[in-house]
């Protein structure tokens, strides 16, 4: 794999953009938004270029680049993208301009756009880092801008929410830091040679004893559980989402939450296969509890944004369910759902933000009969809501179905309980839609202006993706499958008594011609 400078460039450009924004004098407010937009467009272009040049059948890492950062500690700037992380990087790069255009800050835009660009750099870096320490660095770097975004431009109890968000994640990442250092040190003791934090070598050599790798997996799992967020550690999510500014909550939902689930796949299954299988029942239970708990809480919410936040908890529960079913379909479903959730929930948050800009309230009780005053918005909201529920033919369904398929094979009883989650999801969203959009519209609700062209243009790509991926997910599945298959084979080889209960995927209209011989 020739070392291509694409990925480091994609990380560097936003940093440069942030630097330019920081250096400009605060008076020139009109400059910051275009610069931010331009930078994100450039990054999006690079992401599309990467998507186009991605060799479909190749399970390994592509566009790799590897330069040593700290020689004494064996830390190297090793970047690479494979089937699993490709679409997450594209999602991050794609959702960013949309979130940028979706709303503008009410006071001092200079630091706002500066922190946003740093957030973009961090979120791209975290998905394509293949060195444990570099991953950790970006994992924490993403924290600081989000803290300031929530803290400075949020609403209501923003300081409390920001601090709670920062400390929860810091707690998790502190454990992860100790875990990854222990991993590297024990690996060096077992294998000898120089200390290295390179994910590929560590995963390949699996030099740790089972107890040690289980302990370290637990440390990683806590950090990712905080990020996902899984049930007991999720209390920061509703506050952070509701208090964050619209762009902040869109990015939080689309990118930040995926850190946890991506971490489980990349640093859970890949790095500690045996420990993941050992911990799978616990994780599945937490995932399923998350689905049911999220759904129940969502139904009781009086604040629209908080409702969407809790729905994220439910959706992420599905992703964890898919991942820890440890079957090809399950993991594929999980990864697909990560991307779909980013698109759908991102669109939902944008819509809620637009309602908030018009009506300055998010209370469901205060909003009613918006359908009559804003029919186009109601229509768009319906489409996005249906995708979030998982209506067949839209992108939500594909991911959930694959995850449930994998769950039924790998973890039957968890699958059964998870299905009830689908029904609950339909319940709370439809009920909320009915209360907000149907009924009589009087007073403020009546005069609410409809979706403007600019807002429509911003939402259009998301709507297109929702429909396109719902009908033709094969374009994504072809790229994800080889890497996931390689991952499952890697797990199978490293864990005795684990039969890769695999089933050939027979879904999707254009079913793939080639039959899969067994594990393939």
């Amino acid at each position: 794999m020739t070392s291509s400078a694409l990925l480091p460039l994609m990380i560097l450009v936003p940093f440069v953009g942030a630097g330019i924004v920081a250096l400009l004098p605060a008076r020139r407010t009109e400059l910051f938004r275009p610069i931010a937009l331009l930078t994100s467009i450039v990054v999006l272009g690079m992401a599309v270029f990467m998507l186009v040049n991605f060799k479909v059948g190749d399970p390994g890492y592509q566009f790799e680049s590897n330069t040593t950062w700290i020689k004494d500690l064996g830390i190297s700037l090793h970047f690479g993208v494979d089937g699993i992380s490709l679409f997450l990087v594209v999602l991050a790069a794609g959702i960013f301009p949309i979130a940028l255009l979706g709303s503008n800050p009410d006071h001092d835009p200079k630091p706002y756009y500066g922190w946003l660009l740093v957030l973009l750099a961090g979120s791209i870096g975290v998905f394509c880092a293949l060195d444990l320490v570099v991953f950790f660095v970006f994992f924490e770097i993403v924290l600081v801008p989000m803290y300031f975004l929530i803290g400075l431009w949020g609403h209501g109890r923003r300081v409390y929410a920001a601090t709670k968000f920062f400390l929860y994640t810091m707690f998790g990442s502190a454990l992860m830091l100790v875990g990854l250092i222990a991993l590297a040190v024990l690996h060096q003791k077992a294998v000898g040679g120089p200390l290295t934090f390179d994910l590929v070598t560590l995963a390949r050599e699996q030099a740790l004893s089972t107890t040690a790798s289980r302990w370290i997996f637990v440390a990683f799992a806590v950090a990712f559980a905080v990020k996902v967020p899984l049930f007991p550690l999720h209390t920061w999510l509703p506050d952070a989402h509701t208090e964050a500014p619209t762009a902040g909550s869109v990015l939080l939902a689309a990118v930040m939450l995926k850190l946890g689930t991506y971490g489980f796949v990349r640093f859970g299954l890949d790095l500690f296969p045996e420990a993941s299988v050992w911990a799978a029942p616990v994780m599945l239970t937490l995932g399923v509890v998350g689905i049911v708990y999220g759904a129940i809480c969502a139904t009781m919410q009086k604040d629209l944004k908080r409702l969407v936040a809790y729905s994220s908890v439910a959706h992420l529960g599905f992703i964890v369910l898919g991942i820890f079913s440890i079957t090809t379909q399950g993991i594929e479903g999980g990864i697909l759902q990560m991307v779909n959730h980013g698109i759908t929930t991102g669109a939902l948050f944008l819509l809620v933000g637009m309602v908030y800009e018009r009506r300055h309230t998010r209370e469901i009780s205060a909003l009613s009969g918006l359908q009559s005053s804003a029919p186009v918005m109601a229509g768009v909201f319906t489409l996005v809501m249906l995708s979030s529920i998982g209506l067949p033919g839209l992108n939500g369904f594909v991911g959930e179905f694959l995850a449930l398929l994998g769950a039924f094979k790998g973890a039957r009883w968890w699958g059964v309980v998870a299905v009830t989650g689908v029904i609950l999801a339909a319940l709370y969203l439809l009920w909320a839609y009915q209360r907000v959009f149907h009924g009589k519209a009087e007073g403020e609700n009546a005069k609410m202006r409809d979706l403007t062209w600019s807002e429509g243009a911003v939402l259009a790509p998301l709507l297109f993706l929702i429909v396109f991926l719902g009908i033709y997910p094969k374009v994504m599945l072809d790229r994800i499958e080889p890497s996931v298959k390689a991952l499952v084979v890697h797990i199978d080889r490293n864990v005795e008594g684990f039969d890769a209960k695999d089933v050939t995927p027979k879904i999707a209209p254009a079913a793939k011609g080639a039959e899969h011989g067994g594990e393939g």
Binding site: D72, V159, A162, L177, V178, I181
Partner: protein, 507 residues
């Protein structure tokens, strides 16, 4: 090169110890710098420009730094030396520490320059004592003999006692000086009693001879030795403000003038830890490791927890920084606890990055303290983000660095320490250390919240005047904190090579 001439004149006298002056050049430059500054200013009687002492101090510190580099290369070529009949150990460990001390002197002088003019205190004594304190610190760092180490420690401590009591118009400055003096004297007595006991048990105060003696023969009745180790540890723990010997630190940091608290937090801690590593890890490490490590472990864990938890309840930012520096001392104690070469280089790297972080933070605190150095409550920081965004951003970076956020020196130093702890087998200690860091992070967030999030745009905030010298110091600190975090290779490499070695003196 009069030193060379003088040197071989002396060497010609038979049987006398040959003094390679170049080997102790840094301490000589700092000491003579201080003394000559004293006389030059007192002789010329105020005909010198007001910035003269500061420039003199900085040039002396920079000159000392250059000799450190030259000696670093020389030691690289000819290996470690024990000189002046065993009193001084010239090895890369002491050179690294001396380098850190010179950095803290430069930054201390810059902070003092801006501070003194604002408080309209004057007199070269501040700078003289700064230089002499640094000279004491360098002797301590390179001391191969317990007595030389003790005298170096005393020079450093007494100079800082006076510095902290010198702000004439603040009663709390006088009191912090007195409180620091009493605790310091108490600690020195304990340290000295420990040295006496070790002398009794091993027959010599020279570290090299002690370690060879302990290696050669096992003392059956080692009551004296254990007593000596315990008492010395108490003495060092006092100096480093490790819990439970830390009661003095918050009051003294709060009372003392802010640049002096900065120097205290950075240089005194660096020199004390260097002495501690030299005595415990190098001399007593190979033989008496299992005796002193549990004690250091207890000190480390207590300092980590108390340092971060107590900081949460403070409302005065200087007291907060005092408690957080106790937390940092706990971290360095973790590195000392591993008592391996890796642990030592982790401690060294931590001390250097800590010097940059703490000097920068106290620089900002000194500036926000406004005239009278009294405004240190959290409420005084409200709205700083608006009126002086640059200063607030710098302080945010220093605080996040102390919390251990990546791409800063703080992260890498904590990373290094945790690695050395895990490498010597105590992962649990690593977890405790990181959890303490998270608790401390909440403290730093409170200050950031005060600066940026509290206070409506409307209410006016007292103007903060940032003198030029202080902004230069904050700039250096910022550069150090970020460079050590992003491009740490040369420094980590140097820290790895900075292993110390006890060379037995030629009889």
């Amino acid at each position: 090169m009069t030193a060379a001439v003088l040197q071989n004149v002396l060497a010609s006298v038979g049987g006398l110890p040959s003094i390679e002056f170049s080997s102790v050049a840094p301490s000589i430059i700092l000491a003579l710098g201080g003394v000559l500054l004293l006389t030059v200013v007192s002789v010329t009687k105020d005909k010198l420009p007001v910035w003269f002492p500061a420039v003199w101090t900085i040039s002396a510190a920079v000159a000392a730094l250059c000799t450190v580099f030259r000696l670093w290369i020389r030691v690289g070529k000819w290996g470690n030396l024990s000189l002046i009949s065993g009193a001084v150990g010239l090895d890369r460990f002491s050179l690294f520490v001396i380098g850190t001390l010179c950095v803290s002197v430069v930054m201390g002088a810059l902070l003092l320059e801006g501070y003194l003019r604002r408080e309209d205190l004057e007199g070269p004594e501040w700078y003289v004592l700064l230089l002499l304190a640094a000279a004491g610190g360098t002797t301590m760092a390179a001391a191969n003999d317990l007595i030389v180490l003790f005298i170096g420690l005393e020079i450093l401590s007494i100079a800082v006692y006076i510095l902290s009591a010198m702000h004439r118009r603040r009663m709390s400055s006088l009191e912090s000086g007195l409180k620091y003096f009493i605790h310091g004297a108490f600690a020195s007595a304990f340290l000295l009693y420990g040295i006496a006991m070790v002398y009794g048990a091993t027959g010599s105060t020279n570290l090299a001879r002690i370690s060879t003696f302990l290696a050669d023969n096992v003392i059956t009745q080692n009551g004296l030795m254990l007593g000596g180790i315990a008492l010395m540890l108490v003495g060092f723990a006092f100096k480093v403000a490790a819990v439970p010997f830390h009661q003095w630190a918050p009051d003294v940091y709060q009372g003392a003038p802010t640049p002096v608290s900065a120097f205290m937090a950075a240089a005194v801690k660096t020199a004390a830890f260097a002495g501690m590593i030299r005595v415990f890890v190098l001399a007593l490490g190979p033989t008496y490791r299992d005796e002193w490590r549990p004690m250091v472990l207890a000190l480390a864990v207590l300092s980590l927890l108390v340092g971060s938890v107590m900081a949460l309840v403070q409302t005065n930012v200087k007291r907060m920084l005092a408690y957080s520096s106790i937390g940092h001392a706990g971290f360095i104690l973790v590195a000392v606890h591993s008592s391996t070469a890796m642990g030592t280089s982790a401690a060294l790297f931590y001390l250097l990055s800590y010097t940059f972080m703490v000097m920068g933070s106290f620089g900002v605190v000194a500036v926000v303290g406004r005239k009278g150095d009294g405004h240190h409550q959290l409420s005084d920081y409200r709205g700083l983000g608006r009126i002086r965004p640059g200063l607030a951003l710098a302080f945010t970076i220093f605080l996040l660095a102390q919390a251990g956020v990546p791409l800063t020196a703080g992260f890498l130093s904590k990373f290094y320490v945790i690695r050395s702890a895990i490498d010597s087998g105590d992962t649990a200690l690593g977890v405790v250390a990181m959890l303490a860091a998270v608790i401390a992070a909440f403290l730093y967030l409170r200050v950031i919240v005060a600066m940026y999030f509290e206070g409506e745009p409307g209410d006016e905030v007292a103007p903060v005047k940032v003198p030029a010298a202080v902004s230069v110091a904050i700039g250096i600190a910022l550069a150090g904190t970020l460079l050590l975090g992003i491009v740490p290779d040369p420094v980590t490499h140097a820290a790895n090579e900075a292993t110390a070695e006890l060379v037995a003196p030629r009889r």
